[in-house]
Amino acid sequence: MLEIKNLHASIDGKEILRGVDLVVPTGEVHAIMGPNGSGKSTLSYVLSGRDGYDVTEGEIIFDGSDIVEMPAEERAAAGVFLAFQYPLEIPGVATMTFLKAALNAQRKARGEAELTTPDFIRRVKVASEKLNVSQEMLRRPLNVGFSGGEKKRNEILQMALLEPKLAILDETDSGLDIDALRVVSEGVNSLRSPERSMLVITHYQRLLDHIVPDKVHVMSAGRIVRTGGPELALELEAKGYADYAGEAA
């Protein structure tokens, strides 16, 4: 599904990713852990096509083709989804309007018919009930006045509706209390499927108690420096990132 080869990327001339190699096979959930400043969030932005990052070397093979030159909106339509660490508030754009615009834009880009309004509403209803997203939240402007937990649930709702092939979850646990973490994790787990890959980026191990990964990668100083099974997360929790600090400096 996703194969990253020797990926180098910089912003404002400063190299952040220094040769990332990573393979996430279809249907697997991989976690990326690492100290602050190791390049985890940059990797999520570069994968989803944010402007301002220069990929200076390497390839991102997604679903068989290199997407390095592909703009963000085309990657989304092709099946890449980023759940934001800090979802944006957009006053004046109703949540439902946003969801419909996104869903139909992606369908259109893939040559599929736009959803009828009743069909769209039915899909939102089914997905929102699972995630405890109220009708009242859906009527509000996007993320405006939402609590941290509501914003993250709204991200997972978008993921459920857009049905990506690759979901990148950037620090989805940040700002969540235990109950909200459980709701969000259950939402993510319900979306695990043999056709869908996930890349879970987190600083802390606790999210991985709820979303158990197939593999854990440790990122430091812009590279993947170690790969292991779920037990690697526990080891990092116990020992910290001190062993990798040298490479981050």
């Binding site: 909106e73 957009i90 946003f98």
Partner: protein, 437 residues
């Protein structure tokens, strides 16, 4: 040595002097009106066209912008080639004014029973006291010029207690490259309720000038929704003035949407004559190319317990210039006044400019007045959020610009008019780069 300062006139001012001299005996109205025209033209000559040192006009230098004047509209019945309806889908009665002449043959007065509509000429012949009443103290050259040269317009009288459901539009149409001076008189009786629209259109590519002055009074406890759409042709100059006095416990909500013309100015003067009146004043401006649009607002709290809300938004692309000047005056007696003014500019291009000048003149001590102004670009983070969900860039920008303007448009509090105006803002970005003025 002659101590008289020599007044240097611009070519446009010279042309106007010649035109007034030639037209003065033919302009409509009673002898009293004719005398008022002379006096108004003398005022105009004394003031001259506004320029950079005219404080109220400092960002719209007409002396520099109006190099030449097109000929005065002559009042003949001009042919109007079919002009697209600027507000399709919005049901309303239409009073069509072409080059300043009210045209019953083109108008639709159905569904407004009880409302009296008359051509301005009738009021001019009768020396109607309402002509000139609301603008008497403005000392504005463009308004004085209008008083000297006004050729027509309409009068709308909504009787006391009337509830008029169907919106009433004054549709100002310019047919060709002329200068027209239009005067409208609107009188809303006590306890009445009415929704008014004024639209301004004309042919693309035609360097016409439209100078429209509307004088209005809103009776006690009346409720008025008033929406103006300035959608003039892309080579036109639009100079619009509304001077309105609102009575006790009135609710007056006004929206100005500016999208057309190459140079435009919309002046709104609101005076409170009775207590506990509330005014909501909103604006949405969309500019591109080299367009210049100036919204000037003056809210005069002359009596206690008045409230006003002002929200003005402007989106500027290309090399356009947006201007907002907002003045809130709180007279010594106007205690407990509550005034809040906010102006926000969104720049879509590095070459666009936005000039904002809030002016608060507060002479009472127990008041709440606030003003704020912001100016910025589309937020990169927000744009990326939309792109990352698969929404293409043009659609994402349209969503954000529409949302930005919607807050001001929805402030008017009229769903049907708001929807029609929002449609205009949605369509605006869709034609980005196509019709740069």
């Amino acid at each position: 040595m002659n101590a008289e300062p020599r007044i240097l006139r611009t070519q446009a001012e010279e042309t106007l002097a010649l035109e007034f001299a030639a037209a003065r005996t033919q302009l409509p109205g009673s002898p009293a009106i004719a005398a008022a025209r002379e006096s108004a033209f003398a005022t105009f000559q004394k003031l001259g066209l506004p320029h950079r040192r005219t404080e109220a006009w400092r960002y719209t230098d007409l002396r520099a912008l109006l190099r030449t004047m097109p000929p005065l509209a002559v009042g003949a019945t001009a042919e109007v080639s079919s002009l697209a309806d600027p507000l399709p889908g919005l049901d309303r009665a239409r009073l069509v004014v072409v080059d300043g002449i009210f045209r019953p043959d083109l108008s639709d007065l159905n569904g407004i029973d009880g409302v009296t509509v008359r051509p301005l000429v009738d009021l001019l012949q009768a020396s109607d006291a309402r002509i000139g009443q609301q603008i008497a103290t403005l000392n504005d050259a463009v308004v004085s010029l209008n008083s000297a040269l006004m050729i027509g317009g309409v009068s709308i009288e909504v009787p006391a207690g009337a509830r008029i459901e169907r919106a009433i539009e004054i549709a100002h149409v310019t047919s060709s490259a002329v200068a027209s001076h239009v005067r409208n008189i609107v009188t809303v009786g006590a306890d009445a309720s009415v929704r008014l629209l004024e639209t301004h259109v004309g042919p693309a590519g035609s360097a016409y000038q439209a100078n429209i002055v509307t004088e209005a009074t809103v009776g006690d406890r009346a409720k008025v929704i008033w929406a103006k759409l300035q959608s003039e042709g892309n080579a036109a100059v639009h100079l619009g003035t509304l001077a309105v006095t609102i009575g006790t416990e009135t609710q007056f909500d006004h929206l100005t949407l500016m999208i057309g013309a190459t140079v435009s100015r919309a002046q709104t003067f609101v005076t409170y004559s009775g207590e506990n009146a509330r005014a909501g004043l909103f604006g949405a401006t969309m500019l591109r190319g080299k367009q210049h649009a100036d919204i000037a607002l003056s809210v005069d709290h002359a009596v206690p317990n008045g409230a006003s809300r002002e929200l003005f938004k402007a989106v500027m692309d290309g090399r356009s210039e947006g201007v907002f000047q907002g003045r809130i005056i709180v007279r010594p007696d106007a205690q407990k006044t509550d005034g809040r003014m906010m102006t926000q500019g969104l720049l879509l291009s590095e070459d666009a400019s936005f000039f904002v000048k809030p002016e608060l003149e507060i002479f009472a001590d127990d008041v709440q007045c606030a003003h704020g102004a912001t100016s910025g670009e589309i937020d990169d983070d927000i744009l990326f959020y939309l792109l990352s969900r698969g929404i293409p860039r043009p659609e994402a920008e349209t969503l954000l610009v529409t949302a930005f303007l919607a807050e001001a448009i929805e402030g008017l509090g009229d769903e049907a008019i708001g929807d029609a105006f929002e449609e205009i803002s949605r369509n605006w970005l869709a034609t980005r780069g196509q019709e740069a003025a």
